[in-house]
């Protein structure tokens, strides 16, 4: 068995580009005075930070979809949960500076006549605890959900549909005021993070860089998982689950681990996203959001990691430009993107590039070309 390098050429390109991005953006923002033509406005820094958070989400999705064949239509749930954990920390940092000036309760709780802080808010005063929850809550949900689903061999479309049901249920739950998490309005009006004002230019740049670093780390983790011996089995599960099982492996263990790690990465993405956009609300759990994340991965190239991150940035950049210029056209463009990519670019941008220019070994690692012939697989057994 040939050892695969942890960081292959396209990985180096990706990491180098990411590092350059994380250097240039702060430089253009902080180093060049306002008014100069080269100055980068702070709002753009946060916007780029948002893209990078989405890229991390896409990366996490690619880990399970590209390497494990789990098409999760509920990754927005993990993203949202991580975001809420961070949001709760940020809410606690507001302290008595809320509109109602209550030293203990956030504004919405005063408004809803809460007498004391619900138990699940305890501990969120501390960043370390919140950071732990950012990983633990999505991770735990994914572990339980995945363990149940994979053990029962729920696969393919069925899995996709129940992940969608999961995020839908969470959305309904978070919309309720009784959840004690801000209901419809979510959590917002943040002031400080780790003692620094969220709105300040320096904080925003720091958050952007932190997101970049998280993305790089996420890439390395995902890469490490997929090139290891574990990753080989994961890919085997993706391509022929029954065969892998008959060879003596337990696919559910492999899948559960990948799903859990992926959910934690999505949680981190959500946690980094929230302070940069300044709000988290139940809309993040909408099934549509999760499906949109899938198209980022598909556009960039499923099963390439780098492609997923790239796809997220490209699609979201296009979204920013198009919704600004032609608001009506965005949904047409997004819809067309779904259709065109699945029909004509099943391997995505990076996958297509590798196919064109990459080494033979790199090509072999891509997910197999899906069957074009109608229902051949079904007939083989039916």
């Amino acid at each position: 068995m040939t050892r695969t390098r942890l960081i292959d050429p396209k990985g180096w390109i990706f990491l180098a580009a990411l590092a350059a991005f994380c250097l240039v953006v702060p430089l253009l923002n902080l180093g060049i005075p306002e008014g100069s033509g080269l100055h980068l406005p702070t709002y753009l820094v946060s916007l780029f930070g948002k893209y990078l958070a989405f890229a991390l989400l896409a990366l996490s999705l690619d880990l399970v979809w590209g390497y494990c064949g789990i098409l999760s239509l509920g990754h927005g749930a993990f993203f949202g949960l991580g975001g809420y954990a961070m949001g709760m920390y940020l809410m606690r940092q507001i302290g008595p500076r809320g509109v109602y000036g209550n030293p203990v309760l956030p504004d919405f709780m005063v408004f809803l006549n809460y007498k004391e802080l619900p138990w699940y808010w305890l501990g969120f005063d501390h960043f370390a605890f919140a950071a732990l929850m950012v990983l633990a809550v999505p991770g735990l949900l994914a572990f339980v959900f995945g363990w149940l689903a994979f053990r029962s061999r729920v696969t393919g479309v069925y899995l996709s549909i129940i992940t969608q049901a999961m995020t839908f249920a969470l959305m309904l739950a978070f919309f309720r005021n009784d959840m004690g998490l801000g209901g419809n309005n979510g959590l917002t009006d943040f002031k400080d993070i780790l003692g620094f004002p969220v709105q300040a230019q320096g904080t925003r740049v720091a958050l952007f860089v932190a997101t970049g670093i998280a993305l790089a780390l996420g890439y390395l983790v995902a890469r490490f998982m997929t090139v290891s011996a574990y990753g080989k089995i994961l890919i085997a599960v993706r391509d022929a689950e029954s065969r892998t099982r008959f060879l003596g492996y337990r696919p559910e263990h492999y899948k559960t681990l990948a799903f859990t790690v992926s959910a934690m990465m999505a949680g981190v993405a959500g946690a980094l996203y929230v302070p940069q956009v300044g709000i988290i609300n139940p809309g993040e759990f909408a099934p549509t959001n999760s499906i949109e994340a899938v198209i980022w991965v598909a556009v960039g190239g499923r099963g390439t990691l780098v492609g997923a991150a790239l796809g997220a940035v490209i699609v979201n950049y296009a979204k920013t430009v198009l919704t600004g210029a032609l608001p009506d056209a965005w949904l047409f463009a997004l819809g067309a993107l779904f259709v065109v990519v699945t029909l004509f670019m099943p391997k995505g941008i990076v996958g297509t590039l590798i196919e064109r220019f990459g080494s033979r070994r790199a090509r072999a690692k891509l997910p197999p070309e899906p069957e074009i012939a109608p229902k051949l697989a079904e007939e083989g057994q039916g």
């Binding site: 479309v157 839908f168 309904l172 309720r176 499906i291 949904l331 229902k375 039916g382």
Partner: protein, 524 residues
């Protein structure tokens, strides 16, 4: 002693005794006391002119001549004699005055008059009014009316009113009170319970108290059963909506294995077709409005079906065997369709009217059932049966099943499989369009209409077992009824969440749904 006096007084008010002191003469007075007595007397007299005279008094058209106490009613420009109704001329007339006390007396009197009105609707209303008001002075009038009444339904109402009055009146003999209780118990609504509660709490006799207590219990049990039945009906109604939304998907997803995320948009297209058809009918043939839904059904089927065929030929046929890619592509289609409709019709809700036969409600064993819901339930079951018929009994259905079961063998037998694919997908989409016609009656017709149903529809099909129409039926009704039965306890949102979690767990237990297809084909 006082009781006897009261009894005498009421008897005296009711019967012919008062005829001696002529009510007409009493009315022709400027003493409020006299007028009031006159009103009561006139109401009890059974005089056919009483209604007209009292109405005239209420409207200030009743005049009298102080000299000889003759009464006249002003009608238009002329005068008529109050007692006979014949035309008359007279000089020196004064209006009969009214104050608030008089007006109250008038109201009560008119109510009593209605008790013996010739119009059954009025009698019914009057009986209900007496029952609700529980003004014990009306008791004699009710008894008179009861004796005369021939309509069984109204007679029962009178009996109930009489029972309520007997119970409300102090001094009714215990036997009468006991006899009145079962009548109220049989009526068994909220008002009856309220009366029984008062009796159970304050009646001097222990026997009566106990009987009232038993009556309350009986009514409460019945009300609980009725509420449960009502919830089940709501559940069936919701289930039929789910069935309608999911049934097209049962074809495209269940039979063909295509994940059609644009299914909800087919429903939406059907609803917009209904809107357009109604618009055209309003503009060109308003008389046909009651037929607008019937006309919309084939139109919606054709529109949504045609769009479905285009999607199948244009996109899906390249993606057979790649269900997840189909999911993404059709999701893209759904975005495009939504945005197209939004661009054409605007983002706001469109008004779709309901024909006459959809409005109103009827009563079935104490359940209040609206016609609109009733028709939708019936409609969704007939769509279901129709679809079953098409798949089981027609040549087209035979081909569809053949292609689903073994595509290559079917092709070898000379079936044009691509054509069957397109038509089957068109059928599923068309049925979604038909569902849109029905849903336009109960939901907002907006570009987002379909999104609200897509997740539910998939869950219904998956829960019922893919590839099994009966499973879809059972799943839709189960989910609908369960949802509505949970709602009173958890609230609407939590009930929905509970169901979603239930389905997620259920899929773990039976990954292929309630009625799974057996055999090796399921492993693919």
């Amino acid at each position: 002693m006082i009781r006897i006096l009261l009894l005498l007084l009421t008897l005296g008010l009711s019967g012919p005794a008062l005829a001696q002191s002529d009510p007409y003469a009493r009315l022709a007075s400027d003493s409020y006391g006299d007028i009031e007595t006159g009103i009561a007397g006139l109401a009890a007299s059974g005089d056919p002119r009483a209604g007209a005279v009292l109405a005239a008094l209420a409207e200030g058209r009743l005049l009298y001549r102080p000299s000889d106490k003759a009464l006249f009613v002003k009608q238009g420009d002329g005068l008529v004699e109050a007692r006979s109704g014949g035309a008359a001329t007279a000089e020196g007339l004064k209006p009969v005055r009214a104050n608030n006390k008089i007006r109250r007396a008038l109201e009560a009197a008119q109510g009593q008059l209605n008790l013996v009105s010739t119009d059954p609707g009025k009698r019914r209303e009057a009986a209900e009014a007496v029952f609700k008001a529980r003004d014990t002075s009306a008791l004699p009038a009710v008894e008179t009316a009861l004796a005369k009444e021939s309509d069984r339904g109204i007679k029962r109402l009178f009996e109930q009113a009489r029972a309520a009055l007997l119970l409300a009146k102090p001094g009714t003999p215990e036997a009468d009170r006991l006899a009145a209780l079962p009548i109220l118990q049989a009526r068994g609504d909220g008002d009856s319970i309220a009366i029984l509660r008062t009796i159970a709490a304050s009646d001097p006799s222990e026997t009566v108290k106990a009987a009232a207590g038993r009556g309350i219990q009986a009514i409460e049990t019945r009300l609980a059963v009725a509420a449960a039945a009502q919830n089940v009906w709501y559940g069936v109604s919701l289930g039929s909506v789910l069935l309608l939304a999911a049934i097209g998907l049962a074809i495209t997803f269940g039979v063909m294995g295509i994940i059609n995320m644009a299914h909800g948009e087919m429903v939406m297209l059907g609803a917009y077709t209904t809107y357009l058809v109604q618009d055209a009918i309003r503009a060109h043939a308003p008389g046909l409005f009651d037929w607008s839904l019937a006309i919309s059904i084939p139109c919606a089927f054709l529109v949504a079906g045609a769009v479905g065929v285009v999607i199948e030929r244009g996109i899906i046929r390249f993606l057979y065997g790649r269900p997840l890619e189909t999911l993404l592509a059709t999701f893209g289609v759904s975005l495009i369709l939504q945005q197209s409709v939004r661009s054409i019709f605007g983002p706001t809700n469109r008004e779709v009217g309901s024909p006459g036969f959809m409005s109103g409600a009827f009563d079935l064993f104490g359940l209040s059932i609206t016609w609109g819901r009733m028709w939708i339930v019936l409609f969704s079951f007939s769509v279901f049966l129709g679809l079953l018929f098409v798949l089981r009994k027609t040549a087209f259905g035979l081909k569809t099943r053949a292609v689903t079961q073994n595509r290559r063998m079917a092709a070898a037998m000379g079936i044009r499989t691509p054509w069957v694919d397109a038509m089957t997908f068109g059928l599923g989409s068309g049925i979604a369009g038909i569902a849109g016609v029905a849903l336009s009656q109960i939901d907002n017709v907006s570009p987002n209409l379909g999104q609200g149903y897509i997740i539910d529809s998939f869950l219904v099909v998956v829960f019922g077992g893919v590839g099994n129409l009966w499973g879809t039926l059972v799943a839709a009704l189960t989910l609908g009824v369960a949802n509505k039965l949970f709602e009173p306890y958890f609230g609407a949102v939590l009930a929905k969440i509970a169901l979603l979690i239930f389905i997620i767990l259920f899929i773990q237990k039976r990954p292929r749904g309630l009625f799974a297809l057996k055999g090796r084909a399921v492993e693919s």
